[in-house]
Structure formats: C-alpha cells, structure tokens
C-alpha cells in the first residue's frame, strides 16, 4: 500500500529525513515513534504530498508521490499539526468550504452530525479565532471525517485534546482499522496506542532506527538513556 525508498527531506541546510525506506501493508495500523525533531511530522507530510521529498521516491496505492500527486491525494487523508482552518470564519463555514471543494453535501444539516461527533455542535457558529487549541484539533478531526479514504495519516492526534478527545481519537483509529484503512499514527502516546497498532517504526534523527512490534519498540525506547521517554496517558 505504502512503499517508500530512500526518502530524504532537507529544510535549508538541515536534513529532517534521511534515507527512509518503508513498506506498510494495506489495512495495517502503524505507529511512527521518535523523539521531538526526529522527523515524524516531516515523514507524514511527505507521504500526504504536502511537501516533496528532496531525494528518494515513494508510492501510495501504486501512485508516485511526486509525479501523481493528485492521485495520491485521492487516497490520503492527513490530520496534521496545522488546523487547516480560516480564523475569521466559523467552524461550520470552515467545514462547508472543505465540503464544497470535495463536491459533497455542504449544507448545515449534512455537516451538523460531524460537528456533534467532535463536540463542536454548540459552537459551530463561533469564529475559529475564538477556539482553544483542542477545539481547533476537533475541527481538524471533523475535516478528516468528511471523507473515508484508503490511507489516513494522523500526526500527534492526541495533542491538545482532553480525555473525551482521547476517546474520540481511539474510536476514530479503531473505526478506520475496522474499515480496512491503512493508518499511520505519529505519536508519543505509545502505551495508549500500542494495543491497536500492528507494527511500529522508530525514527531517530531522521533515520529509521528500528521497525517491528510496538511493544518491543516501547522497550527499546525505554532502554535508550538519551531518548525522550514516551509519554504515557495521565
């Protein structure tokens, strides 16, 4: 489903990803772990076609990330760090814009259930500028829920969320897994996410440090004295 060969990405003079090769099977849920700045977000942004790899190549469903960018975008959903929203507009208007570009039903009746699911129904007419970071994240989740695609990339999905938000993400991952979607989750919440992941990839300073089962990966991370310890749920 996802095949990457020697992907590298440079920002200015700094290499954020170095020679990353991956093979993620269809329908699997994979954890991407690593300390801050290890290249997790960059890897997901490259796979989502938000940025191009400086070197190397990758395919998703057989489509090349660079030469068939639009085909890849037909298959990939990204929940990123950025909210991808317009601050002056309301939550509902932001979702309506996304729905219109996707050419799906964009009226309030159609979108209210989505906003209710992410807990923003009451605040749907409020400008996003007045939202907390967690509420913006919930709006991003609603945006991801607008369409069901074969591949979903979740970058720090638990960040900024409260306990109910954690459950929302757990349910989302389980739902995607149940539907047979391929899911890549970049997260520090290894203990929380381990039971629902089929495998893990550990990034260390932009390189793949280890691949295998998530439980073994957690052990490995704990054994590295300099590594940032994985955050466990409160």
């Amino acid at each position: 489903m996802i095949e990457a060969h020697g992907i590298s990405r440079r920002y200015g003079r700094r290499w954020a990803l170095i020679d990353v090769s991956l093979s993620i099977p269809r329908g699997s849920t994979t954890l991407i772990a690593g300390s801050n700045g290890s290249g997790k977000s960059t890897l997901l942004r490259v796979l989502a076609t938000a940025i191009r790899p400086t070197l190397g190549s990758a395919t998703i469903k057989g489509h090349d990330l660079v030469s068939a960018r639009q085909d890849v975008r037909e298959s990939v959903n990204l929940l990123g760090h950025a909210a991808y929203s317009y601050d002056p507009l309301s939550a509902l208007q932001n979702l309506q814009i996304a729905a219109r570009f996707l050419e799906i039903e964009s009226n309030e009746t159609a979108l209210r259930p989505l906003l209710a699911r992410v807990g923003l129904e009451e605040r749907r007419h409020d400008p996003v500028a007045s939202f907390s970071a967690g509420m913006r994240k919930r709006l991003s989740i609603a945006r991801v829920l607008l369409r069901t695609l074969p591949v979903t990339l979740l970058d720090e999905p638990y960040a900024n969320l409260d306990a109910a938000g954690f459950t929302l993400i757990d349910d989302l991952i389980s739902e995607l897994h149940g539907r047979g979607s391929t899911v890549l989750v970049a997260s520090h919440m290894i203990d929380r996410i381990a039971p629902i992941c089929d495998g893990g990839v550990l990034l260390e300073s932009g390189r793949i440090g280890w691949t295998g089962s998530v439980s073994a990966m957690a052990e490995r991370i704990r054994s590295i004295p300099d590594a940032t310890p994985p955050r466990t749920e409160q």
Partner: protein, 222 residues
C-alpha cells in the same frame, strides 16, 4: 467550474468577515489622495492635470495592502495547503482570489473617484467609461498582484517584497490607466483612449492566463 464557485464562495465569506480591513484600506487610499493634493499646492490647473496619476498611485499603493493581506488568512493555519490536500484545483483557488482582489480594488477605485473630483476638481461626465477603465486597470493589478502575494506570503519581509516585485511589472498598467483616465478627464481630441484601453486588455489577457497557469507551481512545495 464547481471548484471555481467553491473558491469564490470561500473568498466571499472571508471578505465579508474581514470587511473592516477593506475600510481601513479605503481610508489609506483617501489619505494618499489628500497628501498628493497638498504636495501639488493650490494650483487648480496642476491639480486637475495630475489627478489621474494621483488616483492610480493611490490605488496602486492601496493594492499592496489589499494583496498582501489577502494571503494572511491562507497561511495562518496553512488553510491553503489544507485545500490543496483536498484536491482543490490551484487554478480555481487563484481565480477565486484574483477575482476577489479585483472586485475589491475596483470598488476602492470607484470610491476614490468622488474624492478625486472634490480634491482636484477633476470630474468627467463619462462615468461609464471611467468605471470601465478602473475595472480594467484594477484587473491588471490584481492578477500579477495575487500571484506575487502568494509567492511572498511565507516570507518575513512580505510587505517590502511585494511592491518590489509588483511595481516594475505593472508599469504598463499604470501608464495605460493613467493615460486613459487623464484623456477622459482632460479631453481626447486625438482619440487616443482606445489604444490605451487596448493595451490594458492585452496586458489583462496575458497575465490572467499566465498567472493562473503558474499559481500551482507557486503554492505547491517544489
């Protein structure tokens, strides 16, 4: 077409929610016209003679504010990138933004006309033609202006970079718009207005096509 309508709808929502910004730019344009009149002094003849130039300079200076701010909401939370990942057509996004900027600039130009008449005693009875020249001139500013605004949107010194890039490019627009407006105000015994309007039409045809094609390369990571 659906993508273009979606882009126009998005721009409509943004412009409506940020309408206070438009009024701030309109005040800036008015102040510019007022300051130009002070610079010339009390000579009614000189004021009338240079009125068209001052109108277009005020509009050009105001356009840099309008254009650079038009991408602020797009870059703040990577909203534009989000739309591209939803397979939004870069061309539709460009034309939506360029049309929104064009209408704003044209409206601003028309709002500045009565102020020009009062300050410079430079009126014309042919308001329909004047509106046409303003529409054409502001279209010539908005297409390349939108492209360059997208280019410099992520730069730290975008307020400086945009005029540096835009002003040399729009010299033909400025020249043709000033000449056509001036001929309309001062009289056109030789019938030259048509050729200046022709220049504006050619410039618009080239840049509205070219910028639409290039926009995807500008906003997508390369």
């Amino acid at each position: 077409m659906k993508q273009l309508l979606a882009a126009l709808w998005k721009e409509g929502l943004l412009q409506w929610n940020l309408r206070s910004r438009f009024f701030a730019v309109a005040v800036f344009g008015t102040t510019s016209l007022l300051l130009f009149s002070f610079a010339i002094g009390p000579s009614a003849q000189a004021l009338r003679q240079y009125s068209a130039g001052f109108l277009w300079l005020a509009l050009l200076l105001s356009s840099t504010l309008t254009l650079s701010e038009s991408f602020q909401a797009e870059t703040e939370h990577r909203a534009l990138e989000g739309l591209l990942l939803l397979q939004a057509s870069p061309r539709a996004l460009f034309y939506g933004k360029a049309i929104a900027n064009w209408l704003q600039l044209a409206l601003l130009g028309m709002m500045l006309v009565p102020i020009m008449v009062v300050l410079y005693d430079a009126g014309t009875a042919d308001l329909f033609r004047l509106a046409g020249i303003i529409l054409l001139g502001s279209a010539g500013l908005s297409a390349p202006g939108t492209l360059y605004a997208a280019m410099v949107a992520q730069a730290r010194a975008q307020q400086t970079l945009l005029p540096l890039l835009l002003f040399p490019l729009v010299v033909p627009v400025l020249l043709a718009s000033v000449k056509a407006t001036s001929l309309l105000i001062l009289g056109d015994p030789m019938g030259q207005t048509g050729s200046w309007i022709g220049l504006l039409l050619c410039f618009n045809a080239i840049y509205w096509s070219l910028c639409g094609l290039l926009f995807g390369r500008v906003v997508e990571d390369s």
